[in-house]
């Protein structure tokens, strides 16, 4: 069974540029999460989807971050414009609806110069 797929794996951009990350969850997983992980810290939830509905986006900085999961499968997280402090690893995870075990993707390491 394929795991959670994320792309790109690495991204380097200059500040004020836009950037987008893509995630394809494990087949059949209704719940999808986007996390931000700073170096040496634990993952912090940005947004959680149940199918195509965002059920928790309280930690998403909505002035510059946006996310979508239009068909309830894959998802895109966008930052526009990026700031230096956005440099981090962006992790996507998925789980079966109603189950707590989260399966993480390899992440996208973003560097903002």
């Amino acid at each position: 069974e394929a795991g959670v797929v994320q792309s790109p794996r690495y991204k380097i951009i200059e500040k004020k540029q836009p950037v987008a990350f893509w995630c394809n969850p494990i087949s059949g997983h209704n719940t999808l999460y986007w996390y931000l992980q700073n170096l040496g810290q634990g993952p912090e939830l940005l947004i959680r989807y149940e199918n195509e509905e965002a059920v928790d986006d309280s930690q998403l900085p909505k002035d510059r971050f946006s996310a979508e999961r239009l068909k309830g499968v894959d998802s895109t997280l966008k930052i526009q414009p990026a700031e230096l402090g956005d440099s981090a690893v962006y992790l996507c995870a998925s789980s079966f609806q109603g189950e707590d075990t989260q399966y993480f993707g390899p992440g996208t390491r973003l560097t903002v110069l």
């Binding site: 040496g40 810290q41 634990g42 993952p43 912090e44 939830l45 959680r48 059920v55 928790d56 992790l91 995870a93 707590d100 075990t101 989260q102 399966y103 993480f104 993707g105 390899p106 992440g107």
Partner: protein
Amino acid sequence: GQQVMQIPQYQHVQEGEDFTTYCNSSTTLSNIQWYKQRPGGHPVFLIQLVKSGEVKKQKRLTFQYEEKKKNSSLHITATQTTDVGTYFCAAAGTYKYIFGTGTRLKVLA
């Protein structure tokens, strides 16, 4: 809001020594999960604890959930170099899991 702290932040052990990391919450927990993240990797689910006083074992790993459900621990017996990584606990909050600060384990051969 709910905070989840882990101690120690770092631990260096000689191969064969035991290792323990503690997870403490500011509020009573419902469920708690443990994840391992290898250097350069992503978090991988290890186990979930639900019941007060619960103890679960996975080979050399022992997970414990304290009676009052505010603390949990992960103990590794006779560490091996493959145990290297950061161990995170994640506590069930309202609608989501809150990850702890992590304990980074280094095993010296």
